[in-house]
Symmetry: D2
Subunit: 337 residues, 4 copies
């Protein structure tokens, strides 16, 4: 394919609009041909100023109008299954913002549909894998020079949460990235999840117990702890410390100009995920576009989406039970091996 | 007291010999008057070259010979109770290397003996409180500018362990310091302990499961996790990351010259506890000597020793059960409030 | 202009080939339509696999063949003047890799030609201004919160130099960037240059005195020192420490994963300028493309090229004289104010 | 000598009082037997609470009264020569706060007197050599693993200066330490000094041009630049970056707890020289006491004092001339080789 990949972006909210701008101004080899949203005004605003981008209320209409080579799904997770099944039937590449679907059962139906198609066509939006630090850490671990990985200490801190961000969303929207990171860094599946609830911050909104500590184990026994703290106020931070047999590795430290004034030394903390992961999003979308033009998948696949959906289910159960909850997975189909 | 404090050091092993050298060459206002060890040769070697230091096979003999104003106990923990009781009867200041005694029941008997005496006379060797970083962190937390403390992430890593270092010693000899640190930083008692055993390092000796993760809770619900990793090979590291409502604080980072050569930037890692805490030991002993000359205690007291003994008991139970084990404490006597 | 900007890249050596790849794979809104090099084989290799890119032995032939909206000059500096004059006559946007020309007299002729055209059309390849760290430092200085800038301590270290890299090239190819940085950060012209030659490294090739220290002053008296060390072996480093009245600011520190193993803590040093400034090059070219499509200049202009050419002349004189050499500039034309 | 070294401290101002307290509370093997100051009230205050410390208006009176084994000189530099000559005649150990004397000619007379005595008896108060960072840097350089030393970039920043701190005192009181550091790190004498005066800070008091940059060369051609900035406001900083053939080494970076709050990451800057070099002062005095009890000198000797006095003379000349001023030294006597 020497032509630009013509993409229909489904969902014109914050994330969708961001991806539309990214494809238009920073991604080579692709253009936005359709913006799909039942709120046609919102769709129109997101498409404004982009030559060739048309507006539709449904993905079927966009597809029927022609000019849709690929789909980027940026709607809420509960709407994903239907759109994924459709795009699989049309046999066109899909980039699905995380989660694949909200639970393991629906994710498994997607896995079955993709198996029927017979080739991997879905990429899931776990953009951490496109962050330079995580990629280097994965190389250090898999390179083996420091022996086996034994523990991971993860921190995931947001300055604050939007209204309506529930206790379950701590797992489904935030820790889901850590589930993927653990699977990516260990190359193993997650076998159990446990959640500790301690002293909550006075800055947590009603109905949200913040922070929490999520304890994870992988099949070979790697122990993981995650501090999830979404009203941490000081700034944004995502990073990991890995304990290996022969060394300790840290990623996610702050940088930029270091200033000494008035008795203090320091720099700015990353203010939000856009600043921390903006480049990773660009690389993610570019990787998907490049792979799509070769009829391939350029990142985490539907199995990764299914496995993390199962982790999220276990995590939400663990939040309320206080117990260690096992993660159950179906056997991995040949297509994903 | 304007004279030097004349100290009998009991136990002339590694730690005792180190304290003898410290008192002789670095501590002002005190001198070693007696070295007590059933191995009189070892005692003689430790006392060599110290004017006025005499050698004895028992503390009673040293005391009977005169010239003993105070006792520093550096024998194994199971020998502490008897010597503590004796020194309390003689009503002289005691510095007792950790642990106070090996379990909560024996520690409580010491508490009872000190109450009979009617004043605090025992200081316990938790020297972390004399480390500049821990002291500054305690000030930051208790100062309150960053809101309440919510979580502590502690790391305690040794390059290797001496022969015979058992699984229980991970708790009783290493994590015991973290129990004291948690109590010191939170100003609260510890309510429960749990231990996670994951993938062990190939560098762990037979019979030792290393690393482990110890999960601790305090009475107000502060969540603590400790990585105890005693064959970490890369070097020595003790540090803590504190999550408060309005900020994150790290202590225990490495420093010294930073070199860039051959494609790498970095410095030396602290090689062992002597380098990391040598100054803290000096400050600890000096504080004890200064306080002893005023008939006071200059650091952690017998209650701190008792409370951490109870934590260790719970920790060892938690190692084998895998369950969260509650820490039970007697009511705190008036003397320690 | 809604069409892609069609660019003729002149010079298919290392830098030219790198820019061709960049425009093709990472820059939105532009494509390579012509590759110009008298070595047609080299031109052909650089153009291979780029749809629409044709190969020519001269810029005139490329222009005559049509499809050239803009010129990117990546030939050696002594060839710049002729190509610049031609592109100015054609009135098309030019991005000229540094230096504008090798000396002040030829640079001034370019300034005169651009004045005849009557609008700024030339952007000079000082890509440091597109590096995030330098941009933030410029904001900190010009923001004024830390008072006036008093001194700049610059370091410019390369692991090694290619064969034939002369003493004069230390100034003309390397320090030229620092001349631009000083002008960018201070917003002032440079008034004098001095060079100190001390102990040379055994790693310096014959005929090259390396390292050197370049002492610079600006019109208001800001003192600058530059360590230029082009066979520094350990890696690549470009950074600056700024001393202001009320604070000190550092940029250019290393980052990435931090590893502790075998008694050492540290990370990788940046290996070369591609890793350090790759993103800045992308931003530079994108800024030029975006501005060119609006008939504007998106970065340092011809005056910046002329002023630094005068600094280089003074610097080379200072290398041999050991004296402080004044930098003489013509009056700044209206077009550049 | 198994007895404590009985020291007469001459000068009971800030530095003298500090040393009196240090000897009393932190130095083993020595005590303050006499405090000498023409202001007897000030002497009395400094001696208060120190058993055995008597007060005198002159060093002769103190010596005549008995109980003076050694002298610590903490008076202004212009008073040093007379006291040094006297102590040399008495043949007792001397620790002389820097400078040895205010100029090279008077320092040479001290050198002659010590040669007459026939053994080294004077230690000069260059306490940087007792700072762990400088000592490690010296080892790295002299170890030779990183090749030859080529350049040193030194920074010496104070938050502010006391009233009456003149332009010359920038050299004589502050840069004098850097002269010693350069000689210590290179193991060479200094051959020339030059001073650059640029834009002064608005925070500099009348009559003081602050900051300044001092350019130094050693006999083998090592180039040194020193930023001396004594009203830097942000805090205190003394450190060095060394450029060697095969690597770059930094010392003097800040540490302590690192806090992230309100969008910023960082820690406290060292507030003053007491915090930065307090331990070095302790080690310096202890080293002198230990050596004095063996009739030796435990640190920088009179030759070091003479050589830096010559550098200071050249530095003050260079401040006003703007020229490079050669440093002339007499031949080094056998006694100091
Ligand atoms: Mg695009
Ligand atoms: Mg002593
Ligand atoms: Mg392009
Ligand atoms: Mg003393």
């Amino acid at each position: 394919m020497t032509e630009n990949l013509k993409i229909a972006v489904v969902g014109a909210g914050r994330m969708g609009a961001d991806h539309i701008d990214r494809i238009h101004t920073r991604i080579v080899g692709a253009s936005v041909s359709a913006v799909v949203d039942i709120d046609l005004d919102r769709a129109g605003q997101a498409a404004a100023g982009i030559p060739g981008a048309r507006v539709f209320a449904s993905l079927e209409e966009a597809r029927a109008a022609g000019g849709v080579d690929a789909v980027l799904l940026a709607t809420p997770g509960f709407l994903h299954e239907e759109a994924l099944i459709k795009a699989l039937e049309w046999d066109i590449p899909i980039l699905c913002e995380k989660p694949l679907t909200p639970d393991a059962a629906t994710s498994w139906r997607v896995i079955e549909a993709e198996q029927k198609l017979g080739r991997q066509s879905i990429q899931v939006g776990f953009m951490r894998r496109f962050d330079a630090d995580y990629a280097k850490l994965e190389q250090i671990i898999s390179g083996g020079d420091l022996g086996d990985l034994l523990m991971l200490h993860c921190r995931h801190r947001n300055p604050s949460t939007p209204p309506g961000f529930t206790n379950e969303m701590l797992i489904n929207d935030s820790v889901v990235h850590e589930f993927d990171v653990v699977r990516y860094l260990t190359g193993e599946e997650i076998s159990s999840v446990q959640v500790r609830l301690g002293k909550p911050s006075r800055n947590a909104p009603a109905g949200q117990h913040d922070p929490q500590q999520v304890l994870i184990e992988t099949t070979s026994g790697v122990l993981v702890d995650v501090e999830i703290f979404v009203n941490a106020k000081f700034g944004y931070e995502v990073g990991t410390q890995a304990s290996l047999e022969d060394g300790i590795v840290d990623i996610g430290l702050d940088h930029g100009p270091v200033t000494r004034t008035a008795g203090r030394v320091g720099g700015d903390v990353t203010p939000g995920f856009e600043e921390r992961f903006g480049d990773a999003y660009d690389r993610e979308i570019q990787s998907w576009v490049d792979a799509a033009r070769r009829d391939e998948v350029g990142g985490p696949n539907a199995w990764d989406g299914y496995a993390t959906a199962a982790c999220c289910e276990a995590g939400v159960k663990a939040q309320s039970s206080g117990e260690k909850v096992a993660v159950e997975l179906n056997e991995k189909p040949e297509l994903y091996r």
